[in-house]
């Protein structure tokens, strides 16, 4: 039986080859991508977890005395929140809070807003502590306008639920399907064999041999017509690399400096606090008569890790779409976290918090942002040299904020607090950069370059008066994963 040999059709080897390449590509995906995805997911989850817990943490060296007192303690001092009159008056107040020094001895806190409080921001302070045996009445001043503004944006949802953008907003990256794979699903080749004997249904035990076998041992299985059709199919199955434009699949890493640029009305990086905590007197809110610390926003680190699918559209230009995880951070100084219940009313509603922070200089709070980004970029090779290409890239990126611990700045009272319902989850960035080809000779070339991105959308919802935009400057490393 060793002598029984047949020549298989050409399509058999072609199918074998296609499947081998497919398995190799899948293996590469698992070896490189799965660890990268797992790493990014793990890092993101760790950061989100740590930032969620970070609301209770403080890096302050001093804490106000009220923070150590449980609710209902008779000896608790009242934590006073600096009052403000109209917003206009608020703005006109001198730094240092000279006007407020008169109210240091007052035990009741009244907060009034003027008739023309366009911003409709006010603070309701829910004092649960008991001082001098008397429970403080809650004093909630009402404006002519309703204290709690109606929610203007009906689409606003509590971020206890997930605000999932509509499918139109998100563009899912398409899988890297090469044309070889698509065309690899060819029809079965038509292979006709020259019958040696007629094969009848197996019901009858006696076979009928109609032809006397007079053919050589080695049977040519396919005839010429079948061969031609198979060859045509084969040509379609395996396209030549020179004719078809491949999709390039790359791993993209970026690292650099993140900055938060602010354009908030009344918010100045050099604004000074007119109150500081803990002056020691009972009932005092810790107002200081002296000019106090400045609120500063500092740069932080940023990095992204993701993948990119690039397709050349002309000789030296290409379009790409990617998917990445982005982490950005900044920091601001505070006077320390105040652990007290408070409600902040703003144009979106009321934020109920159990801690907040005032502008100060004694501690630093780190704002962290976690994004899922989908950049769509245009690439242009500026030079003709294939060995050392210089590439310009520019485009936009849709980014979705999946987690953050950033504090919202309430300018009326120069207070920071955390409320995740205030974030603008879907954001748009503009990106530009220049990169250089490194190690182009190998099958998996590297590119290194500089990148700049700026957030066109602010970090906070539009109806809020805080206008902060995230920007990033850094280095990008791009490593192509499919063979040249």
């Amino acid at each position: 039986m060793e002598e029984l040999k047949f020549t298989p059709s050409d399509a058999v080897w072609q199918k074998v080859e296609v499947q081998i390449r497919e398995r190799k590509r899948r293996r590469r995906f698992f070896f490189w991508w799965m660890p990268a995805i797992v790493l990014c997911t793990g890092a993101g989850a760790w950061f989100i977890y740590s930032t969620e817990n970070g609301n209770r943490e403080t890096s302050a060296t001093e804490k106000t005395e009220s923070t150590s007192s449980p609710k209902g303690n008779l000896n608790t001092k009242i934590e006073t929140v600096p009052e403000s009159k109209t917003v206009a008056e608020e703005k006109s107040m001198q730094p240092g809070g000279e006007k407020n020094s008169q109210r240091e001895q007052e035990s009741a806190i009244t907060i009034k807003t003027g008739k023309n409080a366009q911003a409709a921001d006010q603070i309701k302070v829910n004092e649960n502590r008991i001082v001098t045996g008397k429970k403080k009445d809650q004093v909630i001043l009402k404006e002519e306008k309703p204290a709690v503004a109606e929610i203007k944006n009906p689409d606003l949802v509590n971020y206890g639920e997930v605000n999932v953008p509509s499918p139109e907003e998100k563009k899912n990256p398409t899988e890297a399907k090469t044309k070889e794979n698509e065309q690899a699903k060819t029809e079965k080749p038509v292979a006709e064999e020259k019958p040696v004997t007629e094969v009848k249904p197996s019901e009858s035990e006696k076979p009928v041999v109609t032809e006397k076998p007079n053919v050589p041992e080695k049977i040519i299985v396919t005839d010429s017509a079948a061969n031609n059709s198979v060859k045509e199919t084969a040509a379609a199955v395996i396209p030549s690399s020179s004719k078809k434009k491949k999709l390039d699949f790359a791993l993209v890493l970026r690292g650099g400096v993140a900055d938060m640029s602010q354009f908030a009305e009344g918010l100045n990086k050099n604004d000074r606090l007119y109150a500081s905590p803990g002056n020691g007197s009972v009932g005092s809110g810790g107002y200081s008569s002296s000019p106090s610390d400045s609120a500063k926003i500092k740069n932080g680190v940023g990095f992204t890790a993701g993948v990119q699918l690039k397709k050349s559209i002309a000789k030296r230009s290409a379009l790409s779409i990617g998917l990445a995880y982005g982490y950005y951070s900044s920091s601001h100084t505070t006077s320390g976290i105040v652990y007290a219940d408070a409600q902040f009313s703003n144009s979106l509603g009321t934020s109920v918090v159990n801690n907040y922070a005032r502008v100060g200089n004694s501690s630093t709070y780190k704002d962290r942002y976690h994004f899922i980004e989908i950049p769509v970029l245009y690439h242009l090779q500026l030079n003709k040299a294939a060995k050392r290409p210089i590439l310009f890239s520019g485009g936009i990126a849709y980014s979705y904020l999946v987690g953050s611990n950033a504090q919202y700045y309430y300018s009326a009272t120069k207070t920071y607090y955390y409320d995740r319902s205030l974030f603008s989850r879907s954001q748009l960035q503009v990106r530009t950069g220049i990169s250089f080809g490194l190690i182009t000779k190998m099958n998996y070339p590297l590119q290194l370059g500089l990148q700049y991105q700026y957030g066109l959308s602010g970090q906070w919802k539009k109806s809020l008066d805080l206008n902060q935009h995230l920007s990033f400057t850094g280095i990008q490393l791009s490593w192509r994963l499919n063979k040249k």
Binding site: R23, K24, V196, P213
Partner: protein
Amino acid sequence: MIEQRQLIKDCLRGKPKAQKQLYDAFADTMLGVCYRYTKSMADAEDVLQESFVKVFTHLHQYKEEGQLGGWIRKIVVNTALNYLKRSKNYQAELVFHDEGMHPVSDDNPAMNMAVKEIAALIRQLPTGYQTIFNLHAVEGFSHVEIGQMLGIKDTTSRSQYLRARSLLITWMENFESVHPKTNHYAQ
């Protein structure tokens, strides 16, 4: 041997030329093996294609303990069996019954027939008989091994094989009577 080792190394590195060379060296013979287990050349080529994908995927497991051809043949046979078990066409015919032994003659008419004629007759057996006959008479597996491979008792395998053999002898005798050739025993 050195050439074969180098060929295997190149195949493991993913060189297309080396892989094609390996395929060309064994494809003809292995298609003959597939042919014996299937009912049509198209099915045989399907089995061959699956087999060689497995060969290249698991080539790193080949330890050079035996012939490379023998290692590939084992893969092909196992692939053919799996193919038969999966195929709806064949599943209905893969029925094993304990049957009595069929008397066989002492003549050996197979010597007068060409290999491919015998293969054609083997392929005309019911699938169960065909499979067991191939595994025992051609591949050389014992009935115990065949029982393990097919999930049947070794006694069932033995009886199926004897039944297949007796059928084949009958057909060969008929073939001889229709197409007489020089009979070695008659001389």
